[in-house]
Amino acid sequence: MIILENISKRFGNTVVLDRVHAEIPLRKTTFVLGPSGHGKTVFLKTSIGLLKPDEGRIHFEGREILKFSEKELYRFWTDIGFVFQEAALIDSLTVAENLSLFLTYQARLGQTEIRSRVRDLLAYVGLEQMEEKFPEELSGGMKKRVAVARALAKDPPYLFIDEPTSGIDEENARILKDLIARLSRQGNKTTIIATHDRQMMQELADYVIFIKNRKIPFAGPASRIEEGRLKDLYRKESNER
């Protein structure tokens, strides 16, 4: 279980998360929902210690990650795959170099093995011919697919994906959904996805966390959240606007 205990996070005077509590089941697919600008990305980044919360504790299968030294934190991140909202590929490196960063510097594999792994990963996300391209030569959707491949390069037990289908064309969104569905079905990864895509949530979610107004008004199994309740949570937000 991943437990976020009374987590608060503020930027200057703006409180983004206010003593939120969440328990994320292992080897399940958890969806983090909520209106834009209400802290889904911050929730994801705080969950793995990429952002330091102002208060609270985070337990990853019994390990309290906020007590980790910097070295331990870097070691812990070898277990984490993170797909950023804008892909965040290193723009001075080619696609193949992006995918081989972890394999070269952390896994310390040989060049032949790295090349073969890179080819497999690109085949997995359906971008076989893109090895030598630079990120600027790819569309937004392709970048996200490369980012997924990069996150999977280390075969992490925990996978965090921030807005996988937002701002990209339908074709790439469909491919990404299929990819995530495949990962979900494998059932050996704890996958946490922040998204607006309710349809994807309904198809794939085992567990749902809804973030709104700094709090978590709903967290529980996906089977317990009905469409009506979800609409209600979103509607309240638009009324308040």
């Binding site: 952002l51 290193i90 510097y105």
Partner: protein, 269 residues
Amino acid sequence: MDSRIFMRNPDTPDSIDLGPGKSAGFFIVFCELFLQLVEFFKNIPEIAKYWAETSRQINKHIAGTLPLGMFIGCFVGIGSSLQGKNQASIWVAHQIIVNIIFKYGILELYPFILGLVLAGKIGSSVAAEIGSMKITEQIEALKTMSIPPVGYLGWPRVAASMIMIPLTTIFSDICALISMSFVSLRVFKWVSYDDLIAGVKFNFRPCFLIIHMILKPALYGFVICFIGYFFGTKARQGAKGVGQASIQSAVVSAMIIIALNYLIGELSY
């Protein structure tokens, strides 16, 4: 009340505001710089691990910095020769004039001018590069791949600068010496060959060359890239923030170089 939470860029929440007239003062910047310096020294063992990246940065220097250094050396050398010609008179031994412009040029002026030019060129480019990586989450992406940004981005740039700026200074000094000698002997003809050699040899101490042509530029290299990296990692608010980081980096590293130039001079003589 508007229920939406209007956040600043959540990816740069811990950065301090370094903009002019803003609340963060000099003291906070100084503390942040010190902490960054400590982090750099903690990551010294990473230099060997990311040597490939350092080589890539060295190649960038060879293409961009060496020709610039040679250009500066040639023209500053000619300028020095012109100054020597203007000072030359029957009342002052030409050997002394050569000795002064040689020493002042090689030991002080050329490394100093080169340092200032490179503070603008390399420092601002490092700040802009790191700054745009920061605002596009690439630095966080490196962390999630368990690659420390100081090791992968910081040290390779600093190490490349510490190797290449002394090398550029040596090339620049050689160019300056050649151009100064050629112009003095063949164009302005204000000094004889024997006076030139005697002037250069007079009170010549090789240890000064090591300090001012190698150690001092290496220190400049560290300052330029370290300051560029520091301000780059503090960039925020998009392109404007990157521009600001770039300017701050050039100005602060130039100021440090001016102070260091005096301090090293004071200590070495």
